[in-house]
Every structure is written in structure tokens, then in C-alpha cells.
């Protein structure tokens, strides 16, 4: 019913507007087409001219409104470089933007039709074309140069001392795996995955897996000032590790391991002070549509001091000790004796 009423209302309003429009057409004929057209032309020219200051004012208002929630505070060195480059690009494009938009609306006003004047026949000029081909080309070359320097910077090989952490996406949360005391992530195989006791499909025949820690709440704990390298994977569809505060992003693709690395420079606690937001938290946003829960696929990065990190690590149990069928408290979690008890053989033959 309400749908019907709304539609009728809209149609009615349209008919009224249309009739007004028709009436004005008749008026045009009555009052002399040329004259009315010239008047209308003048009015439109002024409206168009007004659009420019109106637009500038709107942009100003927007900037005022958003100025403290644009780029979030960058929490790593490459992030700061990012911000510089962003400002440079904004300046270059901003100049072009205001200049061309101004000319557009100004010309509209200045060169509105007039019976006193006729258009200037000006069909081409190679000189002008040359000018506005080379200037943009040079500007682009500069932007590319800055861009590629930063690009190679952020995509360079991670330093050897970087902590390696694995982050794996699944519908709809992040699983984070730490290498444990041996500093080595063990092998895993998607065929060994079991949601009950082996969410990442760790291969229990690999002794490196024994001490690996998995946080299933999507918390990525990293140490301030220490480079961290993420090994990114996915269990099912494509996800994306989006780290707005670190100006980084990398897809999580099933069957492929991707990586990114950065050196966090501000702890979560300091960030709470900087942003004056006691609830501040670095968030990991899934940036690749991955299904109905995409919008809720949230992880967090906890940037800690080394001491805090040690403390957190000490509180963690290895995934093996929590889940392996063979794990009994007190037995050292070694790969060899775990082997026969897993159903890895079955899993492999499943194919």
C-alpha cells in the first residue's frame, strides 16, 4: 500500500512539473522564442558560474569536517613516506583540479551566447598540443619516480632479523600463527585441516609445528621497533590483509603464500594517547569481498613493548599441546611420536 502511495505521489509531482515545463514552452512561443532563450541562457550562465565557488566552499567544508580523520596516524616509517607522497600527489592534482574546473566554469560564463559576438574560429595549434602533452608527461614521470622508489621500498625483501608470523584468512576470521621458541613455522597442508583440532592443517610429523602458537581471535602481536614479516594465506576464498595504519595491504589467496613486512613504530598504548581514544586499536580489515561475513572479518594488531610481548608469549600455549590427540600434559610435544596417531594418511588419500 505505502509503495503504491509513494509511487502515485511521485508521478503526481512529475506531472505537475511537466505541466509547468509545458507552460513555459508555450510562454516561449508567445513571448518570442529568441528573447526568452537568450534570457534563459544568461540565467544558466550565472548558475554555472556560481557552481564553482559553491564547489570550492563545499570542498573547504569537507576538508574542515574530515581533517582529523583522513589518513590515520602512520605507525611505521614507510607509512610516513606514504603520507609525504600522498601530499605531493594531492598538491599536483589539486592544482590541476582547481585550474581546470575554474576555467571550465569561467568560460561558461564569459563566453555565453551573445548576438553581439560570434565564436572565434580556432581549430588547432600544434604548439598548444605540444605544451599540454609534455607538461603532464613530465608531471607523471616525477610522480612515477617517487612512486616507484616507495614501491620498491615497501615491497623489498624483509630484513633477516624480522619476526615471521603467519596470518591465514578463512570465512570469516583471521588465524594468526607464531613460530614459537624454535622460531620456525612448521609445514602445513590444507588436507589436514580439521575445524575441531587442527584449524590450519599443521603437519604433526614436522617437529617445528610442536611449539607453534595459533591465536584464533585474530590478534597479531608484534614488537614495536622490530620488523615483522607476514606470511599470508587463505583457507578458502580470497581475503585481504588490510592494515590502514601501516599503509599496507596484501591479498590472501588460497594456494599461494604472499608476504608483506613493516616495522611498527608506535605501540598500541602510545597510540591511545596520540589519538586521545582509549578504545584505539590497530585493526586488520578484510579488503577483498569474501562472502556474507566480509564486513565482520576483523583482526587486530597489538603493538607492544618487548617486555609486554614476552609476557604475552609466556601466557600462550602451543596449539599442539591444546589439540593434538597425542598431547598429554607433561609429554614433550615431539613430532615423531605424534605421527601415527594423526589421521594425516587418511586426509591425503582423500584426494
Amino acid at each position: 500500500m505505502s509503495v503504491f502511495i509513494i509511487i502515485t505521489l511521485i508521478v503526481l509531482v512529475f506531472i505537475i512539473i511537466y505541466q509547468i515545463g509545458r507552460a513555459s514552452e508555450y510562454a516561449v512561443v508567445l513571448r518570442g522564442e529568441e528573447k526568452v532563450k537568450a534570457q534563459a541562457n544568461g540565467v544558466i550562465a550565472i548558475l554555472l558560474l556560481l557552481l564553482f565557488p559553491l564547489g570550492v566552499w563545499g570542498i573547504w567544508e569537507c576538508n574542515e569536517m574530515f581533517k582529523d580523520r583522513l589518513l590515520p596516524v602512520a605507525a611505521c616509517k614507510t607509512g610516513e613516506n606514504y603520507d609525504t607522497m600522498f601530499m605531493v600527489t594531492t598538491t599536483v592534482t589539486g592544482i590541476v583540479f582547481f585550474l581546470t574546473q575554474f576555467l571550465l566554469f569561467w568560460f561558461c560564463y564569459k563566453y555565453q551566447a551573445s548576438s553581439k559576438r560570434s565564436a572565434f574560429f580556432f581549430a588547432h595549434s600544434n604548439k598548444l598540443e605540444l605544451v599540454w602533452t609534455t607538461i603532464p608527461a613530465i608531471a607523471m614521470a616525477i610522480l612515477v619516480a617517487i612512486g616507484l622508489r616507495n614501491w620498491y621500498d615497501v615491497t623489498s625483501v624483509a630484513p633477516a632479523e624480522a619476526t615471521v608470523v603467519e596470518i591465514v584468512g578463512k570465512q570469516f576470521n583471521w588465524l594468526v600463527r607464531y613460530p614459537g621458541k624454535d622460531n620456525e613455522l612448521g609445514k602445513r597442508d590444507f588436507r589436514k585441516i580439521d575445524d575441531a583440532n587442527n584449524v590450519l592443517g599443521l603437519d604433526w610429523t614436522d617437529p617445528h609445528n610442536a611449539d607453534d602458537i595459533i591465536s584464533q581471535n585474530g590478534e597479531l602481536h608484534v614488537v614495536v621497533g622490530k620488523p615483522v614479516k607476514l606470511l599470508i594465506g587463505s583457507r578458502d576464498v580470497i581475503h585481504d590483509v588490510g592494515l590502514p595504519h601501516f599503509r599496507m595491504k596484501m591479498d590472501a589467496v588460497p594456494g599461494i603464500t604472499t608476504t608483506l613486512w613493516f616495522t611498527p613504530s608506535i605501540t598500541t598504548d602510545s597510540m591511545k594517547q596520540i589519538t586521545k581514544n582509549p578504545d584505539f586499536v590497530y585493526e586488520i580489515a578484510c579488503d577483498q569481498l569474501c562472502g556474507k561475513g566480509h564486513y565482520s572479518m576483523r583482526g587486530t594488531v597489538i603493538v607492544e613493548t618487548p617486555a609486554q610481548h614476552e609476557k604475552w608469549l609466556a601466557s600462550q600455549q602451543s596449539y599442539y599441546s591444546q589439540n593434538s590427540p597425542s598431547a598429554t600434559p607433561g609429554t614433550p610435544a615431539a613430532g615423531e611420536n605424534a605421527k601415527p596417531k594423526t589421521d594425516s594418511v587418511k586426509a591425503v588419500t582423500m584426494k
Binding site: 509545458r22 513555459s24 565564436a119 572565434f120 580556432f122 614501491w151 556474507k292
Partner: protein, 607 residues
């Protein structure tokens, strides 16, 4: 009725001396309704069919965006009206996440392919190519008809997919596998996705049939004197649009075929090492990224397929209504060539963060920013075209001017995105949404509106109402900026696109107010579009009649045909062309333009 007789009369004359329409010769000159309006082979009728189908799709697609914008802007409210329209999917007046994504996907697919590709190229390539190059019809009117009917079939398939129980496809208009390949991954990956693929495959067929026809017509059917360099820029633009489509749609098609195989026949082109729905799948060795390469190899040219017709029409309209030649005709053609060639080698800028080699990425950065150069050239040429003109602010002119403004705004943000070092933060955020809606969505729509308002008199022998046109323009232009400008800020803050709800996110929830604002404006702008639709259909029957052949005082050939041209376009011989299409200058008799059909005066230099 009287009118009809005259038209068919004209057609009969036309058949007399044109081979292209020979198979009509046996027909009586009173054409049956079905052949005249439905299975018509007349390019003008086919163009109207594309246009009307496009308009219907545009309304559906835009209405979808109103629905999901309401959810996005007001996540805490309920809208009983949505339940009325969408039923199950909006229980209690609130969209379910599944259906939210289905709507977003359908909105994108419909607007990109059905409206701005078929609706735009289909309409204007069909209408303008024969009329502006001086041909009786397309090279193959029959293939042309098939092109429409394949599009119609694609439309039916897509429409049906809206009603299947598991809902339409919901993996985004890009439908990346594995999400789109595995039924376990989402409801929309079920039958809805099968229908989507079938529909799109059919769509590709339609596009190829149309494109080949446009190309051969432009190359072979030009009238005497119409050399390539005397063609209006609309034709150049539509020609390159067709070239882009013909060369890239097959690649998309192959991508779809592999996806169909993966979905139904157990192959592993795109699938590898997947655990979903509680079990590990047998697929190994495929690459999900391969699909993205195949998709974007069309996907990027596709954005120019959408853009070029608008560029061509804006050029034509700007020149005509400022009574001045287009500035830099050759530079415009060369930049079109530049854009067309480069459009094929920049696709991976959509994939900077898929883990591809940084070196490869840097090549694509270079090529992508290179494409900004011909784009800039076009903008400066348009500006110089109106400089010192004598501008008449007709509705088409306003849209052409709006087109330039939007193209500048959206093109400049491309410079951010094309630089991988900046894209790494902006990718898949609202910045991208803002970029492509402004540069492609709205700006192409503006090109299309300019075209519709400008050639409506040619299509229907009547004018659209001017006052309504002005209202429509100002609401749409201001509204478009109000909707999409704020999205840049959200994107710069890192706010991801394709989220159903942001309230759980510490970093993004403070944009709630802005989202609400955007949704309100979007709804208003939607209603203003209905005003256009209303104007369109009312004017078709009730609009002021066109009384002169050449109402805009334009130089090109379409305005030498009768007011309502019949099948065959010209009564008598096709006119011969003697000069370039932009001779807006003193004709020596107080007029300010010289049509292409007027021979050079003694001593006059050709352009």
C-alpha cells in the same frame, strides 16, 4: 498513420538503390508491426530498443543502489517498504547481508554491462554510425538485430536470476573465484551464479555481433567524400569502442568458460588448496589470480568502452553548442588511439596487491600513468573548444560540460590509484568507489544524457522538455558530487568498500553520519532520474514537435535526413561530403556553420 506511410514510402525508395537492404525488397512497403518494431533490422529502431532496454535496466540497477544505500546509511533503522519490494530478503525491513551483497553485485553488473555498455554503445553506435557516415544501414542489419536479441536474452537470464531461491550472484561485479566458484562459499554462488555466467556469456556474443558490425560499417560504408579524417569524433570514439570490445571481450569469455568448468566439471583452473564447508576440496594447482588477469584484460578496456562514447558525444555536443570547431581534431583522434592502445596494457593496476612481482607492478604503474597523458590532452582540448565560443546552454550542452567537470575530477584520482605505492593503501576502499563512480559511472551517464538530449529530436522528431532537463541537470550534477566527493575521505581513512555495516570498526565507525548523508542524497538523485525517465517517455508522445531538419544548426550528416527518417535514412541519394565535420564558421550568408555536404567555396582551404 499518415506519418508512417511517409516513412515506409521513404524506405521503399531507399531499397531501390542500396544493396545492404536488398532482402527487404520483396516486402510490401507496409511493414508488419512485428518486423517494424520488434524484429526490426532498421538501425534506428534497434538503437531505440537498446535505449529503452537500457533505461529499464538503469531504473532497476539504481533502485537497488537506493536499497543498499539505505542499509549502509541507516544500519539501525528498518524500512518496511523494502520488505514489501524484496520480501524474504529484507525481513523486518532490513536487508540480510547475503542479499546486500547480491544487490551490490547486481547493481554493478547491470550498470556496467547492461546500461553503460549495451545501453550506451548499443544506442549511439546504432543510431549515429550509419547516420553520420552516410550509410543506409549497418553492414549487416541482420547481425545487428541478432546483437539486440542476444542482449535481450542476456537480460532475461539476468532478470530471472533475481528470483531464484538462493538469490542472484553475490560475489561482486568482478566475481572473483573461489568465492564465485564454490557453492559452499556463499548462497549467491549457487544457481544465481550459473545464470550470471550464462547471461554474461550471451552478453559477450551480443557485444561481439554489434562490435564487428560497427567496425565494418565505419570502415566500408562511408558515403562519398567521407574519408576517415572527415568523420565526426563520435564515430571515431564509437569505432575505437568497438575495437576495444572485439579484442577484449573474447578474453573475458574464455575466463568465464574456465569458471563454468571449475564450477561444474571438476576442473581446477582457478582452484587450489581449499578447505571449505568442512572439507578439503580435491583441487590443486590452479590459480585464483589467473581469473583476475583474464577478467581485467577485459575489465580495464571495458571502462574505456564505457567512457569513449561519452567522450565522442561530448566532443560533438561541446563543439555544436559553442558554435566553434572542436579544438585539435587530430590531437583528439591521436589521443583516442593512445587511450585505446594503452587500455590493453594497464589491466594489472587492479591487481597491485595480489602478490604479483613488484617489478611487474612497476611496469604497470608506468603504463597506467602514461594513459593520463592522452586523457589530459582531451580535457585541455575540450576547454579550448569552449574558450571564446558562443555558448548556448541547451540541456545537452549542460550535460557535456558536466561530463568534462566529472571526467577531470575522476581522472585525477586515477593518478593516485595508478601509482602502486599509493594504491597499496587505497585499494578496495571507498576511494576507488569514488574514483570510478565519478569518472566512469556518472561521467559516462552525463555523456549519455548529453547524447539523448541532443539526438532525441532525431530519434523521435520531438524535443524533450527543456525546463525538466535543466532541473534534472542541476540536481544530478550537484547530487553526484555530494554523493561521491565525501567517499574520497572515507577511502583515504582506509574504509573498505563492500561492507554491510561499519559499526563494529573502531577505525571506520565515525563515518556513520557521512554515510547517512550520502544515502539521503542518493535517494533524492534517484528520484530526479525518474523525472528524466518521465520526461523521456512523455516527450516521445507529447513533446514539442521538431519543425526544421537541423534544429541545433549542426554540420554533420544526420541532420540532412528528413525529420523522421525512414528505413534507408535519406530519400533519394545519400549526400556527398566535402569537408571536415566541424566547420563552425561564417558561411558567408550570416550563418555560423557550414554543413559537411557543402562543397568548399572557391579559394577556401580544407581543414
Amino acid at each position: 498513420m499518415n506519418n508512417h506511410e511517409i516513412i515506409t514510402e521513404g524506405a521503399a525508395i531507399a531499397h531501390g538503390h542500396e544493396g545492404a537492404a536488398e532482402h527487404h525488397a520483396h516486402e510490401h512497403h507496409e511493414q508488419h508491426f512485428i518486423w517494424k518494431y520488434i524484429f526490426s533490422q532498421d538501425h534506428k529502431m534497434i538503437s531505440k530498443q537498446f535505449l529503452v532496454t537500457g533505461i529499464i535496466w538503469a531504473i532497476i540497477g539504481a533502485l537497488m543502489s537506493v536499497f543498499f544505500r539505505l542499509q549502509l546509511g541507516f544500519p539501525d533503522s528498518t524500512f518496511p517498504i523494502m520488505e514489501k519490494v524484496l520480501g524474504e530478503w529484507a525481513k523486518g525491513g532490513k536487508l540480510s547481508p547475503e542479499f546486500y551483497y547480491a544487490l551490490v553485485t547486481m547493481h554493478g553488473t547491470i550498470l556496467v554491462f547492461f546500461v553503460l555498455t549495451a545501453g550506451l554503445s548499443g544506442t549511439f553506435a546504432n543510431l549515429l554510425i550509419p547516420l553520420q557516415v552516410g550509410a543506409r544501414d549497418m553492414a549487416s542489419p541482420f547481425m545487428n538485430m541478432l546483437s539486440y536479441w542476444f542482449f535481450f536474452l542476456a537480460s532475461i537470464l539476468m532478470f530471472v536470476s533475481l528470483f531464484v531461491e538462493t538469490g542472484p550472484a553475490s560475489g561482486g561485479w568482478t566475481t572473483y573465484p573461489p568465492l564465485s566458484a564454490l557453492k559452499e562459499a556463499s548462497l549467491g554462488a549457487g544457481v544465481g551464479m550459473d545464470l550470471w555466467l550464462l547471461s554474461m556469456a550471451t552478453f559477450v556474443v551480443s557485444s561481439l555481433l554489434g562490435g564487428l558490425n560497427y567496425i565494418s560499417t565505419v570502415l566500408n560504408m562511408r558515403t562519398k567524400g567521407m574519408t576517415m579524417t572527415r568523420m565526426p569524433l563520435t564515430i571515431w570514439a564509437l569505432f575505437f569502442t568497438a575495437v576495444l570490445g572485439v579484442l577484449s571481450f573474447p578474453v573475458l569469455f574464455s575466463g568465464f568458460v574456465l569458471l563454468i568448468f571449475d564450477r561444474n566439471f571438476g576442473t581446477s583452473f582457478y582452484l587450489s588448496e581449499i578447505f571449505i564447508g568442512g572439507k578439503a576440496l580435491p583441487h590443486i594447482g590452479g590459480s585464483a589470480i589467473l581469473y583476475q588477469h583474464l577478467f581485467w584484460f577485459l575489465g580495464h578496456p571495458e571502462v574505456y568502452i564505457i567512457m569513449l562514447p561519452g567522450m565522442g558525444m561530448a566532443s560533438e555536443v561541446l563543439s555544436t553548442h559553442s558554435r566553434k570547431p572542436i579544438f585539435g581534431y587530430f590531437a583528439m583522434i591521436i589521443s583516442l588511439i593512445g587511450i585505446t592502445v594503452l587500455a590493453f596494457v594497464v589491466w594489472a593496476h587492479h591487481m597491485f596487491v595480489t602478490g604479483m612481482s613488484p617489478f611487474l607492478g612497476s611496469i604497470f604503474v608506468l603504463l597506467t600513468l602514461l594513459i593520463a597523458v592522452p586523457s589530459a590532452v582531451k580535457v585541455f582540448n575540450w576547454l579550448t573548444t569552449i574558450w571564446r565560443g558562443n555558448i548556448r546552454f541547451t540541456t545537452p550542452m549542460l550535460y557535456a560540460l558536466g561530463f568534462v567537470s566529472l571526467f577531470i575530477s575522476g581522472g585525477l584520482t586515477g593518478i593516485f590509484l595508478g601509482n602502486s605505492a599509493l594504491d597499496i593503501h587505497l585499494h578496495d576502499t571507498y576511494f576507488v568507489v569514488a574514483h570510478f563512480h565519478i569518472v566512469m559511472g556518472v561521467s559516462a551517464f552525463f555523456g549519455m544524457f548529453a547524447g539523448i538530449y541532443h539526438w532525441f529530436p532525431k530519434m523521435f522528431g520531438r524535443y524533450m522538455n527543456n525546463t525538466l532537463g535543466y532541473i534534472h541537470f542541476f540536481i544530478t550534477f550537484i547530487g553526484a558530487y555530494l554523493i561521491f566527493w565525501p567517499m574520497h575521505y572515507e577511502g583515504i581513512a582506509g574504509m573498505p568498500r563492500r561492507y554491510y555495516d561499519y559499526s563494529a570498526w573502531e577505525s571506520f565507525k565515525h563515518f556513520q553520519g557521512v554515510n547517512g548523508f550520502i544515502s539521503i542524497v542518493a535517494t533524492i538523485v534517484f528520484v530526479a532520474q525518474l523525472l528524466f525517465v518521465f520526461n523521456f517517455f512523455m516527450s516521445m508522445y507529447r513533446g514539442r514537435k521538431v519543425t526544421t531538419k537541423n534544429p541545433w544548426g549542426s554540420t554533420t550528416l544526420e541532420w540532412t535526413t528528413p525529420i523522421e527518417p525512414g528505413h534507408g535514412n535519406w530519400e533519394g541519394d545519400i549526400p556527398e561530403v566535402y569537408r571536415w565535420p566541424y566547420d563552425y564558421k561564417d558561411d558567408g550568408n550570416g550563418g555560423d556553420f557550414i554543413p559537411q555536404t557543402v562543397p568548399l567555396r572557391p579559394g577556401e582551404e580544407a581543414h
